[in-house]
Symmetry: C2
């Protein structure tokens, strides 16, 4: 079941502190922490979505170090995690890639720290993973996924802390917690 769940870390379209649309920078630790969590839970693939050429090059440089360079020889477990990373310029590119690999267009589930009336639960997403289509879980960097992105998602997952007044997890923590809720023992 876990291999039919995919994760996308979206760097565009996301919003900044003031709600303005931006393309955020890729960070090295987002690659490592999220890849390690994906590998630990058996996720099918981890898409890093950025339209910026220089950011795509940066990701490929980091991946080269760990997949075919000195990093992978020093720490083979890290290589095994980073093998899950795919780089795509758009979220639609990740959807197409999964559709080509699995034969099914994935159900797209966006995540958010803001409560909404129409949010789906982790239990419902677990149910989706029993269906024929894979599931692609989208996480926003910076101050979160832009509204235009949310509107196009098939579903929006309810926030990790529904009732809390303070809900400012890092995206790395949010991915780890949701993988545990969806795929944990």
């Amino acid at each position: 079941m876990a291999e039919r769940l995919f994760v996308a870390l979206v760097h565009h379209p996301v919003v900044d502190k003031n709600g303005e649309p931006i393309a955020s920078a890729v960070t090295n630790l987002d690659l490592h922490d999220i890849a390690r969590a994906c590998r630990t839970y058996g996720v099918g693939g981890y898409y890093v979505v950025t339209p910026l050429d220089d950011q795509q090059r940066l990701v490929h440089q980091i991946l080269d170090h760990w997949l075919s360079g000195a990093g992978g020889r020093y720490n083979p477990e890290r290589r095994e995690a980073l093998e899950l990373v795919r780089v795509t310029p758009t979220f639609a590119g990740a959807v197409d890639d999964i559709a080509a690999a699995t034969g099914h267009r994935p159900v797209c589930v966006a995540t958010s720290a803001r409560p909404r009336a129409d949010g789906v639960t982790c239990r419902q997403v677990r149910g989706m993973l029993d269906g024929p289509a894979p599931v692609l879980l989208a996480f926003g960097t910076a101050w979160g996924l832009a509204d235009g992105f949310m509107d196009k998602a098939d579903h929006i997952l309810e926030p990790i802390r529904m009732a809390s007044a303070y809900n400012h997890l890092s995206v790395r923590s949010a991915v780890a917690i949701l993988l545990d809720r969806l795929l944990g023992d």
Copy 2:
């Protein structure tokens, strides 16, 4: 209940890749990610344990920036999270500090990625949080807490992935997942 759980991030005594005892370096993102998770789940305090003077100074410099400097004005939520951070040279110092603040010596629960026959479950630790004493959950940096540390803990928590052959989460991810299991909705 959550405010009776405390987190310690231990930089000594931990082991390196070859199992040799070391004092690891503090990393900025360990402070931020773990403080944000602790604040989101209502944890009572987050202890950064390092015996190294320069590393203690580094933590205090980072905290100054976010608690009384420009960082806290730019992002007040981040300040609210980092207010939970305490710096102690030893784990025993964290234990003493919690005992002084709460009137009870905390139950010390060490975490590990390695399965053990005598590990306690998250359900058991949740039960401890209903008792009179607070609980201090210890996480190792680098390649994990040294054996000598484990021997002195009151309990050792079973690994996050009991049955998985691959279990290489970052400490940031491990903290987030365990806080969710212990204190989640």
